[in-house]
Amino acid sequence: MTPSVLPLGDPAPADGILPAQAAVGAASRKFSLYAHIPFCAVRCGYCDFNTYTATELGGGASQDAYASTAVREVEFAARAMTASGLPQRKLSTVFFGGGTPTLLPAGDLTRILGAAVEQWGIEEGAEVTTEANPDSVTLESLQELHDGGFTRVSFGMQSAVSHVLKVLDRTHKPERVPQAVAWAREVGLNVSVDLIYGTPGESLADWETSVRTALSYEPDHISAYSLIVEEGTKLAAQIRRGQVPNIDDDDHAVKYELADALFQAGGLSWYEVSNWSRTPADACQHNLAYWHGDDWWGIGPGAHSHMGGVRWWNVKHPTAYANRLDKGESPAAGRETLDADTRELERIMLVSRLSEGLSIDTLGPAGRHAVAGLIAEGLIEPLKAFAGTLVLTLKGRLLGDAVTRALLP
C-alpha cells in the first residue's frame, strides 16, 4: 500500500547514500522489508494507492518484468545501506503489499523474497506476509508461497455484504473468502482478514454481518479500517456529485465500538487502534515495526522507507521507477531527515496507538502534565496510568489523534 500523493521533502541523491544519522544506533534496531506490488485487476473506487491495472503499463514496468525490477532495488538497497555505514542485519519481518501482490505469479513473489533473504538473511521464525485478494489465490499458489518462505497471508475481505462490496468496487464474491482462508490454513499460513467499515450505504446490520462473518472464519488477526475518502478517487467524485452519501464519523464511531465488542467476544484483542489479534504473538510484527519506529526499506514505486529518523519515498510511476533502477540510480523521489523534536513527536504519535502503551516517564513536562486531564476525560486507562503507562481506553482509541495532540508540547 502506498498513497497516491507523495510528501514534499529534500531531494534524494542518485547513489542512495543516506545521511549519517541513519546509521546511528542502527545495530540495536530491527530491520524490515516492505515490497510494493503496484498492480490490481481493477482499481477500487475508494483506493488512492499507487497501483495500476494490467492494461495501464508496459515495457520494463510491466507485470512480467516487475519481479526483476524489484530484485534490482533489493540489490541496490543492500549496496546503499552498506555504503552508508549501516551494519549487516537480518530481516526481522517482510511484508508484500499492494495493489494486489497475488496478481503476480507466486514464483515472482518468492523470487523477490529469495533475493532479499540472499542479501540480508532472515531471523529464525520471522514473519513474512503477503496481502492477497480472495479471488487471486488458489490452493496451489498459497502452497507455493508457503514453500517459498511466506508465513502469513492477509486477505482483503473488506465486507461480507454484496452491495457494500459493490460500492467499494471489490470484484470478489463474498463466498470466495472462506475457501481462501481454508486453503491458507491447509498449507500452514497464519491468516488475517482486512475489513473496511463506514462505506456509504453500509447499515449497522451490514457491518455486524461482516464482522460476524469474518469471525466465523476464525482468523488469527483482523484489521478493521474506517473508510477514508481520499481526494481524487472515484468515490470522492461520486460523493461530490451526490451519487452516494458521504461518510460520517459518528457512524464510524458506532461501528468501531460494535466491532471491538464483537472481536473481544470472539477471542481477539486490540493491540493497535485498527488491529486485533488472537494472541499477542499473532499481532502483525511488521505493522508493529512501523509503530515502534524500526528501520525498514520499502521497495517498489511510491514505497516509503525509514532508517533512524531518515524517511524517504520512491518515485510513483512504475515506468519512472524501472528507468531509475535500469540506470543503477536510486528510485527515491525525496526524503526528510527528522530532528530530535520531530522524532519525539512521531514516537508519541505512533506508540500511543498501541495497547502496550507509552511510558509516561519518557514524556516531556507538557506530556506528563496532560495525563491527569486525559484520565478525567476517560481517554486513557487510569490504572495503567497510575502504573506509569499511558494506554488508550475505547473512547481514547476513537479520539487517538486528540490524545496525541494533548501530549505534544
Binding site: 502506498t2 521533502g9 464519523d249 512501523y290 520499502g298 511510491g302 505512533l350 479520539l399 489523534d401
Partner: protein, 618 residues
C-alpha cells in the same frame, strides 16, 4: 480657450482679486480625482512625466478605493483674457463619515464644482455636501463628468442638476476627466463665475485650518485658508481654541509639491509647519492667528470630532498587542477623530475599544492598521453609545455591550440619525420596508426627477451601523445611496443579549438590541456559532440569554471519532504533517471555558454575510 498662465502669481504678493478658491463636490467613483489630475496637467503644474493616476490621493487606500480621505489643496495658475489668475483647488473627502471635514473645506472656498457622473446622476452623499455648500453661500458650478461614456445621459442629469440648484440645464458644463474634453472651459468658468475672496489685509491674522496631516519627516502639516491679515515665516502663531503657540518653521503653498513662500496673504491657501507631532495640536476647524498681534475673535464653526460608532479591535495573535498599541498611537497623530482606550475581553484577550466617525472610518482604520502595520485583527460588531440612567439616577455611557448594567435601569437613550436615501422610484417599497424593519420613522419623500426619489427617515443609529448599507444596496440593485447625520437621541426599550457557550458568557458576542429583536439576534447568533465551532469531546450547549432568561438554544454534539485509521504503507510523514497542522490549528484556538473556539469562528460570527462577500463596497 486659454493657455496655461505664462507667469504665475507669487504667493504672499497675490491680489485677492485674482484668487479663486474652489472645491469639487462629488460622489465616490464620479471621477473627482481624475478631473483634478487633468486640471493639474492642463495648467502645467504637474509635468506629463510625473503624472500618476489620482495624483492627490496620497494614501494607498485612497488610490485603491478611489476615495479621498484626507483633503489636499493645490495652487494652480490659469490665464483668462490676458490676466494670470491663481486657482486654489481644495480637495474634499466625499464620504458621510467625514461631514465635518467637508464642512471645513467648504468654508475655505468661495465656490464649488458640483461634479456628477453623467451615467449615474447625483447620489445622496453628494446631495448632502451640496446642501452644506449652499449653506456656506458658495457659488455652485454644475458639471456632468464622464460624458464620453456610452451609457451617459447628459440631458436627463443636466435637468436634474438644474432642478436642484435652480438654473438652466444648458448651464450645466459637460466634461470628461478621462479625455480632457471641457476641462479648459471649466477652468475659465471658475475664473469668471466664482467671486474673489474678501478680507481685511490690515486686520490681525486669521486663518482657518481645513486639514491637518501628519508626515513622518516634517511632523504635522497644517493646511489653512487666510481670511484676514497675513502670515509670514518665522513668526510665532497661536491656535485660538487652545491658545497654544507654535514657532512657524515653514510656510508655503502646494503646487502640488510643497513650495516654501514668503508668506500667505488674504484669500490665499497654503500650508504651515510648526514642528508639532500630533494633529490634535492643530485641529481642523481651528483658527490660526499670530502671537504678537492676535485676533480677538475666532472664525467660528470649530467642533471637536465626536465618535459615533465603537468597535473592539483585537490582534488575532495576542503577542501583537504592543504592535497594535503603537500602531494606534501613530494613526492617532494623523487622525484627530480617532479615539481609543484599552479594553480586554475574556474571549479575545487584550485589545482596544475604538471610536469612529462612522463605518467607513472604521473599515479604513482597520485596513490601515492591518496593511501598514502588518496586523491581523478581529473587530467586534460595531455599536453606538448608549446613555443609561440607573434607578438611582446615576447616568452611565455605554460604548461596549459588556459594560451594559444588569438590572436597575430606569431609562436607556440611544442616538438617532436623520437619513436621506436616494434611489430610483421603483425601489421605494423595498426601502420603506427596510427602514420600517429598522425602527425608522418616515420623514418625507420627494421626487428629484420623474424616476428618482429622495426618502427621508429618522432611524436609530444602531440600526444602520451594522449591515444597513449593504442591504440597502442589494435591495436597490446597487442604485440606492445613503446619507445621514446625527439627530439627537430617543428613549428605547433595549436589552442586552448574551451568548453563552457551555454556560460561559462570551463577551465578544454580547449585543444591545431592541427588545423586539432580541430573539432574532439570539437565534441568528446561536445558529451561526453552531456551524462555526468545531465539535468538541463533549456536548457544547450554545445559549442566548437576556439576563438569566434563555431565549434561544442550540447545541454542538460531542465528537466521537478523531483518529486516523491507518498509516498507508508506512507513510508516517503524511500522518505527522496532518498532526502538526492540527497542532498549529490548536494554537489559533481561543479557549472559552473548556471550549476551543477557532479564531475564524469569531471573525465569521462577527461579520455579516454581505460584507464578507463584498469588501470593497461603498
Amino acid at each position: 480657450m486659454s493657455p496655461m498662465a505664462r507667469t504665475a502669481p507669487v504667493p504672499a504678493a497675490t491680489d485677492p482679486a485674482i484668487i479663486r478658491n474652489f472645491c469639487i463636490i462629488a460622489h465616490i467613483d464620479h471621477g473627482k480625482s481624475t478631473l483634478a489630475d487633468r486640471m493639474l496637467q492642463l495648467t502645467g503644474v504637474v509635468q506629463q512625466r510625473d503624472m500618476k493616476a489620482q495624483y492627490l490621493d496620497r494614501m494607498d487606500i485612497e488610490r485603491e478605493r478611489g476615495i479621498t480621505i484626507k483633503s489636499q489643496a493645490v495652487r494652480i495658475p490659469w490665464e483668462v483674457d490676458g490676466t494670470a489668475y491663481c486657482l486654489n483647488m481644495i480637495d474634499t473627502p466625499g464620504h458621510v463619515d467625514f461631514t465635518y471635514e467637508v464642512s471645513r473645506s467648504l468654508a475655505a472656498c468661495e465656490g464649488a464644482i458640483l461634479l456628477v457622473d453623467a451615467a449615474q446622476g447625483i447620489e445622496a452623499q453628494t446631495l448632502a455636501n451640496l446642501y452644506l455648500a449652499m449653506e456656506n453661500n458658495l457659488t455652485i458650478i454644475p458639471v456632468l463628468n464622464k460624458i464620453d461614456l456610452p451609457s451617459a445621459q447628459p440631458e436627463k442629469y443636466a435637468a436634474e442638476l438644474a432642478n436642484l440648484i435652480g438654473g438652466k440645464p444648458e448651464d450645466v458644463l459637460m466634461v470628461s476627466g478621462k479625455t480632457g474634453v471641457g476641462v479648459e472651459a471649466l477652468l475659465d468658468q471658475i475664473v469668471r463665475e466664482l467671486p474673489p475672496p474678501v478680507g481685511d489685509p490690515n486686520a490681525p491674522a486669521r486663518a482657518m485650518i481645513f486639514d491637518s496631516v501628519y508626515d513622518t519627516y516634517r511632523g504635522v502639516v497644517t493646511y489653512v485658508r487666510v481670511i484676514d491679515g497675513s502670515l509670514s515665516p518665522r513668526e510665532k502663531i497661536q491656535m485660538m481654541s487652545t491658545r497654544a503657540t507654535h514657532e512657524l518653521l515653514e510656510i508655503g503653498v502646494s503646487s502640488p509639491e510643497p513650495t516654501p513662500s514668503k508668506g500667505l496673504g488674504v484669500g490665499e491657501v497654503g500650508y504651515l509647519i510648526t514642528g508639532v507631532k500630533d494633529v490634535r495640536q492643530s485641529k481642523v476647524g481651528d483658527t490660526v492667528t499670530t502671537f504678537h498681534k492676535p485676533a480677538t475673535e475666532s472664525l467660528g464653526g470649530y467642533q471637536d470630532a465626536k465618535p459615533m460608532v465603537f468597535s473592539g479591535l483585537y490582534p488575532l495573535d495576542g503577542a501583537d498587542y504592543p504592535v497594535l498599541r503603537d500602531a494606534l498611537e501613530k494613526l492617532m497623530l494623523n487622525d484627530a477623530a480617532l479615539v481609543y482606550e484599552p479594553e480586554s475581553s475574556a474571549a479575545l484577550g487584550f485589545g482596544f475599544r475604538v471610536g469612529f466617525l462612522g463605518l467607513l472610518h472604521l473599515e479604513i482604520t482597520r485596513e490601515r492598521l492591518e496593511r501598514e502595520h502588518n496586523l491581523d485583527l478581529i473587530s467586534t460588531a460595531p455599536n453606538v453609545e448608549y446613555e443609561v440612567t440607573l434607578e438611582d439616577k446615576k447616568i452611565i455611557h455605554v460604548t461596549n455591550p459588556s459594560e451594559y448594567p444588569s438590572g436597575k435601569i430606569a431609562e436607556v437613550r440611544e442616538p438617532m440619525v436623520s437619513a436621506t436615501i436616494l434611489a430610483p422610484s421603483e425601489f421605494v417599497g423595498a426601502i420603506m420596508e427596510l427602514c420600517q424593519s429598522r425602527r425608522g420613522i418616515l420623514g418625507g419623500m420627494d421626487y428629484l426627477s420623474e424616476d428618482r426619489v429622495e426618502i427621508r427617515y429618522r432611524l436609530p443609529l444602531a440600526e444602520i451601523v451594522f449591515d444597513f448599507f449593504d442591504i440597502l444596496k442589494s435591495k436597490t440593485r446597487g442604485y440606492g445611496s445613503l446619507d445621514w447625520k446625527a439627530d439627537g437621541d430617543q428613549v428605547a426599550d433595549l436589552v442586552k443579549v448574551d451568548i453563552l457557550l457551555q454556560g460561559e458568557q462570551v463577551d465578544a458576542f454580547s449585543a444591545i438590541t431592541h427588545r423586539d429583536k432580541a430573539y432574532a439576534y439570539g437565534v441568528m447568533m446561536t445558529g451561526k456559532l453552531r456551524n462555526l465551532i468545531p465539535r468538541q469531546q463533549f456536548e457544547v450547549p450554545i445559549q442566548a440569554a437576556i439576563g438569566a432568561r434563555i431565549i434561544a438554544r442550540e447545541s454542538i454534539r460531542a465528537i466521537r471519532k478523531d483518529v486516523l485509521a491507518k498509516c498507508y504503507g508506512g507513510d508516517i510523514s503524511r500522518k505527522r504533517k496532518l498532526l502538526e497542522k492540527q497542532k498549529e490549528g490548536k494554537k489559533r484556538m481561543k479557549m472559552v471555558g473548556r471550549v476551543e473556539v477557532p479564531q475564524e469562528a469569531f471573525i465569521a460570527a462577527l461579520t455579516t454575510d454581505e460584507s464578507s462577500k463584498d469588501k470593497s463596497k461603498k
